[in-house]
């Protein structure tokens, strides 16, 4: 019986998992978001502090990255969050510059684009790829609603919702859906993708627009929505952090749930649902 199962499951069972539009917009978004995050940190470094409301209360930032030093130069990095100070030398506030010396800056050079402090270039990268992400996202959403991809593939059903606790446990065990169950996104996937495309990225775009003095004149409703330009800036940063969290989990999940199968399906669309069964059969043997 075990031998028979082994032969059966070695046969691949291909399905067409992702449409062309989904695949293309996915990679454009991935590239754009990478550039936006790194250039965004460069921009943040120009004034590495966050506030809430209409304006900046310099004495009471929500978050601030500072440096303390002596005549020889900055030596200690200090990050305050709601007033509480944390030592962050080498990472935030103070980190190694291109010349090997410690320099005063928010995020370190290995994560900003450009690496050097250069607000002008950082803004150029940021606004070009913001347009790219916006256009790719728009195409994805329009296609998603017309083709019912959003409604059919992303929207969780009642059964999905009831399955959430079980799905969390299975994910923690690295037990992924097999066979026919692998044809569709599981509920945690649905929820996280929905949160990203319907909430996080639109929030980022709107908050970004709200920081534009030109668009504030055209659409004062943006300021009403966010409660002020500085609130919008902070929400922009928080939503970006949420996106980073999603990306970390997403990439890890892609890696541990069959990386080649996952990558292949996002490149040429073909996904092998039998491969999952193969894993299952392996586990059975033990």
């Amino acid at each position: 019986m075990p031998v028979q199962e082994a032969i059966e499951v070695n046969r691949r069972h291909w399905i067409h998992r992702h449409s062309l539009v989904v695949r293309i917009t996915h990679w454009i978004a991935a590239l754009s978001i990478a550039v936006l995050l790194m250039s965004g940190l460069q921009i943040f470094n120009a004034h590495p502090a966050l506030y809430w409301g209409k304006q900046s209360d310099f004495g009471n930032p929500i978050l601030a990255m500072k440096s303390e030093g002596n005549d020889d130069g900055p030596s200690k990095g200090v990050t305050t969050v709601f007033g509480r100070a944390f030592g962050t030398t080498g990472l935030f506030g103070v980190s190694t510059g291109a010349d090997g010396e410690m320099e005063e800056r928010g995020f370190p050079r290995w994560i900003t684009l450009p690496g050097d402090q250069d607000l002008a270039k950082g803004r150029r990268w940021h606004f070009l790829f913001a347009w790219l992400l916006f256009l790719a996202g728009l195409i994805y959403l329009v296609h998603g609603f017309i083709s019912r991809h959003v409604w059919r593939d992303l929207m969780p059903t009642g059964d999905d919702i009831r399955d959430i606790p079980h799905s969390i446990v299975e994910h923690a065990r690295l037990n992924f859906p097999k066979g026919d169950k692998a044809r569709v996104y599981n509920v945690l996937q649905k929820l996280s993708y929905l949160i990203v495309v319907i909430f996080l990225v639109p929030a980022l775009v709107l908050a970004g627009m709200t920081m534009s003095p030109g668009l504030d004149a055209a659409f004062p409703q943006l300021l009403t929505l966010f409660g002020g330009r500085q609130t919008a800036r902070t929400i922009h940063f928080l939503a970006a952090s949420g996106l980073v969290l999603f990306i970390v989990v997403h990439v890890v999940m892609v890696l541990v749930s069959g990386v080649w199968n996952n990558l292949r399906s996002m490149i040429n669309g073909r996904f092998d649902i039998a491969e999952s069964r193969k894993t299952y059969a392996q586990k059975r043997k033990h």
Binding site: Q55, R123, R124, A217
Partner: protein, 290 residues
């Protein structure tokens, strides 16, 4: 056996991603240093300018109440021009200061502060957004630029209004006082958070002063004023005395301080490095609506 193969693959992928990421970042840095790629990066500025203008129309930037005024509106950039000529004017409370209005105008003007104050003023409580990221709200009173330009009369070829300022940013030499130029360096004045690779100032180098430019659409906008009062007091030196520009639908670096002369031109390409402003010559966008 299978398990170790997939682990190897995983490790390869993770290391590959890490190496790829480092390569990509280094590659991006080198890319953005090339001039032609910089032109590609600048495409978005054009797009934003072309799209925002029709969307904005004549809309006003948001205006606030007295209660919103920032108590500690920090001055940024130059806070005390080191130039000897400016310092001499400041000592007399700018009694001898005249605003020159020339270029493509029918009647060049030389306006004193008293004459500027006699033009029906506009007062606005607006939010100043610095390109660095912070915002402060202040109350400004000044002469609408439109009124000044109409008195001078624009020639048909006029396209841009260039504002020449008193403060020397680089190449401090014989016309700035020595004390001031060294304090300018340490206060990090104009370099604040914005530009780290400032050109080295040589004493034989020509002084580079701040300047800015706007087009006629912004020049004639009701909220574009030449401000001489701030928060119900005479505009103080750190904030640009005797006169600073307000262009409320753009970022702070467009709002030139220490304005000495307004020059109406058809093109700004032969002023400074030709990009329309001190910061624009150093890589920032000319259109600062975003």
């Amino acid at each position: 056996m299978r398990k170790s193969v997939s682990t190897d693959r995983r490790q390869f992928l993770i290391r590959g991603l890490g190496a790829g990421g480092a390569l990509a970042l280094g590659g991006c840095d080198r890319l953005s240093d090339s001039e032609r790629f910089d032109d590609v990066l600048g495409l978005a500025e054009n797009l934003n300018l072309k799209l925002q203008r029709p969307i904005m129309g004549d809309a006003l930037a948001p205006e606030f109440t007295e209660a919103d005024i920032t108590p500690n509106f920090k001055p940024n950039g130059t806070d005390n021009p080191p130039d000897k000529e400016y310092q001499a004017l400041a000592k007399t409370n700018f009694a001898g200061w005249r605003l020159l209005v020339d270029g493509l105008v029918d009647h060049p003007l030389k306006l004193s502060l008293a004459e500027l104050r006699s033009i029906p003023p506009r007062t606005q409580i607006t939010r100043h957004d610095c390109v660095e990221g912070w915002s402060c709200i202040g109350k400004w009173t000044g002469a609408p630029l439109k009124e000044v330009l109409q008195r001078a009369g624009l020639k048909p070829q006029a396209r841009y209004v260039v504002l020449h300022c008193a403060d020397t940013m680089e190449g401090a030499g014989g016309d700035t006082s020595d004390d001031q130029s060294s304090s300018k360096q340490s206060s990090g004045g104009q370099t604040s958070g914005k530009h780290s690779t400032a050109k080295q100032a040589g004493s034989d180098k020509q002084a580079i002063r701040y300047y800015e430019s706007i087009d006629l659409a912004d020049a004639f906008h009701p909220q574009t004023i030449l401000a001489y009062d701030m928060n119900d007091r005479t505009l103080p030196i750190p904030h640009g005395a005797p006169l600073r520009l307000r262009v409320e639908r753009q970022l702070g670096y467009k709002m030139a301080k220490y304005v000495m002369r307004i020059e109406v031109v058809e093109s700004f390409s032969d002023i400074g490095d030709g990009k329309g402003g001190y910061w624009e010559d150093r890589g920032y966008d000319w259109y600062a609506g975003i």
